[in-house]
């Protein structure tokens, strides 16, 4: 007989483990990843590979340098690399992507002690670092390579209806991502290049049924992984069904953005479009895969709701009044910073809690 082992109860464990969670999330992300490669071609594939390899390499490097626990196989570094790549434009230069991955893992995660100790979402830290360091590369979008697709996802016959508007404005609108197109058109009204009526016709085109459906199915320009809201939604629902995430953060986050976007997303109040605000940009990617990151999101349901509403408000504030057309990345990073405080104030009451009696 072997030597008998002892330990504290319980003596049985579920088969749920860290690497299983990571690989399931990676598996689910393959849907939008493959779509990104299909829409943007080889450059997207290269960006993804560089980011993933860069992340794993950095993890290995820090593990060696600081003699940390080796966890290369649990998939957490692969996941961070993949998530970072999905937030980048397909044409990001290799070295830029690699530095992003290095910063994400090295300074977003390992420097705090590795998995479980990082206060901010590492992939978003990587993206924020790139946005601050090489803003041009990170905001230079290449158009989809598939035939009949353009950046903003609007069919040509609708663009033709914008005939009365100065050509340079039309070019700006059609060569930008949808959120950029909206933001810049509003700026054009503010500086008098176009009239409010002309803005209305641009908005009419942006919010048209075919434009919105292109946004939903993923026939627009943008970052590699953010273009198809549908695939991100399917992936997110799979995670909820598999009980890896709960619905609270993604649903409340997206709805907050939609409602506030409707109220403040256009010029003047209640001029925005709910669907456009929800579907454009990286909201679905951020809501299902970034804001729900275990380590950097609140522990308790009440806290998750506060976190999601806060992030939603920040998205609209940045989109409408900030310097960037898109605010998902910063909204999540800023809310990450509030998580310890949110957790402290949303501590659950024990079963059978009686107000005033239970200590």
């Amino acid at each position: 007989m072997n030597k008998l082992k002892i330990s504290t109860s319980p003596h049985i464990y579920s088969k749920f483990n860290v690497s299983k969670i990571m690989w399931v999330v990676i598996g689910v992300l393959l849907l939008p990843t493959l779509w990104g490669i299909y829409v943007f071609g080889v450059p997207a594939l290269i960006t993804i590979l560089v980011s993933v390899i860069g992340s794993v390499f950095t993890e290995w490097l820090f593990t060696k340098m600081f003699k940390m626990k080796v966890r290369l196989y649990d998939g957490s570094a692969v996941l961070t690399g993949l998530l970072l790549a999905l937030t980048l434009p397909p044409s990001t230069p290799i070295l830029v992507t690699f530095s992003g991955a290095f910063f994400a893992i090295g300074f977003g995660k390992m420097i705090f002690g590795g998995l479980g100790y990082n206060p901010f979402n590492p992939a978003l830290i990587g993206r924020a670092f790139l946005l601050a360091s090489w803003p041009v590369y990170i905001t230079t979008w290449s158009a989809p390579i598939r035939k009949g697709l353009n950046m903003v996802g609007i069919p040509q016959h609708l663009i033709d209806t914008l005939s009365g508007i100065p050509q340079n404005v039309v070019d700006t609108v059609t060569l930008a991502t949808p959120l950029n197109a909206l933001g810049q058109s509003i700026d054009f009204v503010s500086n008098g290049t176009i009239t409010p009526d002309q803005l209305n016709s641009i908005q009419h085109v942006l919010y048209s049924k075919s434009a919105l459906s292109n946004l939903f199915f993923g026939y627009t320009g943008g970052s590699i992984g953010e273009v198809s809201a549908l695939l991100l939604l399917i992936g997110g629902l799979l995670l909820i069904w598999k009980k890896i995430i709960t619905w609270h953060i993604p649903v409340i986050y997206i709805l907050t953005v939609g409602i506030l976007g409707w109220m403040f997303g256009g010029k003047g109040i209640f001029q925005g479009n709910i669907l456009f605000q929800m579907l454009a940009g990286g909201l679905f990617l951020g809501a299902f895969f970034m804001a729900t990151d275990y380590v950097t999101s609140p522990m308790f349901t009440k806290g998750k709701i506060i976190f999601a509403i806060g992030a939603g408000i920040l998205v609209i504030v940045i989109r409408r009044w900030g310097g960037y057309p898109e605010g998902v990345c910063y909204s999540i990073i800023i809310m990450n910073a509030f998580v310890p405080m949110i957790d402290r104030f949303t501590k659950p009451k024990p079963f059978g809690y009686v107000k005033g009696v239970t200590k």
Binding site: M1, N2, K3, L4, K5, I6, S7, T8, S9, P10, H11, I12, Y13, S14, F16, N17, V18, K20, I21, G114, L115, G116, Y117, T246, Y294, V295, S297, M299, F300, K347, P348, K349, P350, F351, G352, Y353, V354, V357, T358, K359
Partner: protein
Amino acid sequence: MGLLTFKKGVHPPDMKLLSKDKKIERLTPPKILYFPVAQHIGAPAKTIVKKGDPVKVGQLIAEAVGFVSANIFSSVSGTVKGIEDRLNFLGTKTSMIVIENDEKYEKTEFTLLTDLQSANIVNKVKEGGIVGLGGATFPTHVKLSPPKDKPIDTVIINGAECEPYLTSDYRLMLEQPQKVVEGLKILMKALGATKGYIGIESNKPDVLKKMHELCEKESEIETVALKTKYPQGGEKQLIYAILKRKVPAGGLPMAVGVVVQNSGTAAAIYDLLKEGKPLYERIITITGNGVNEPKNFLVPLGTPINYLIEKAGGLKENAAKIIMGGPMMGFAITDLTIPAQKGTSGIVVFTDKEVYGEDYDVCIRCNKCIDVCPMDLAPYQYALLGENERYLEAKDWNVLDCIECGSCVYICPSKRPMVQFIKLEKAAITAEMKKEKKK
């Protein structure tokens, strides 16, 4: 009616198939038996026999000290070989009365009650050394003596047996259901309760059917089907599942007018009051993939574990961990001469392939522990505080409300030993509270 249940909890594989069809066998007592004087919650009993004394089956050998304590009886006839300090299942030492079996099984007479009055029942239960047989071993007469301002209207019999592997309650309720029902009636009488429930998990449909038939004529007693979920048999969870009453945090079930007793305890009360048999034997499941022939035995208390395992076909080559109690809340033991005692509901033997828990990983804040905690606590916090030896701070996170069911550790993807830290924290906090009281 739908299945009743509580909120949250986990679904471990129930593994009851190993022993569920094994009929209860009466075990022939071994040659030497050990009777710990502390096998219940409360003060250890005081030994009243000395070396060389002859004893009979059912003879009082250690007497309760104070109210929260319990009498201890010999399960064989023979001679007291001595009083020794021996290792118990907690890994500490307890004074144990060692008795050599003369294999004559002469019985002591135990006077039966003719008049089943409430006070008489409680006294008799105290005399008979009955404690909670689910594993907590709280002296039953204490539960039967609620203060005057806390009237009890309902008695619940816990037949959930939510611990995986164990089948002792299942076999009892299948083979002797009338004992449980009669025991419940006695309990209701002792407490003046008007309603009785027998809660049984849905994974025991045969028992449910049998109990339903038995309770049909009893207007005051109802059998209810519970969802198979752990920890369904937790006292507060069971009360919530059946009555939707919430026992206040830090309070006892009597605060909501309820007393919960294990099905085995109800049967023991029947044996005591109707058959004059004090608590000196109980049903124990010997199971797990590490034993050759899983069994359900009626075991004379005091029987060493190695004798039980031997009678269950012995250990397999690859046996690696032996649990006294169920796998979720039981204790791992290394010394096999530790005796079966009042709280021993089962012995589970794991093979080397089933043993984990050598190393644990970092907390990735996945919230799973919060999602399953039946007491609505934040278990991850106990491990984080514990790792940094900040035990006392756990009090602010309501660690004292924890029932140590182990659901959090079961589900944890990093296999973090929350329960271990919780035990340390509770001990540190209780010690600190005692210190403060002294000041």
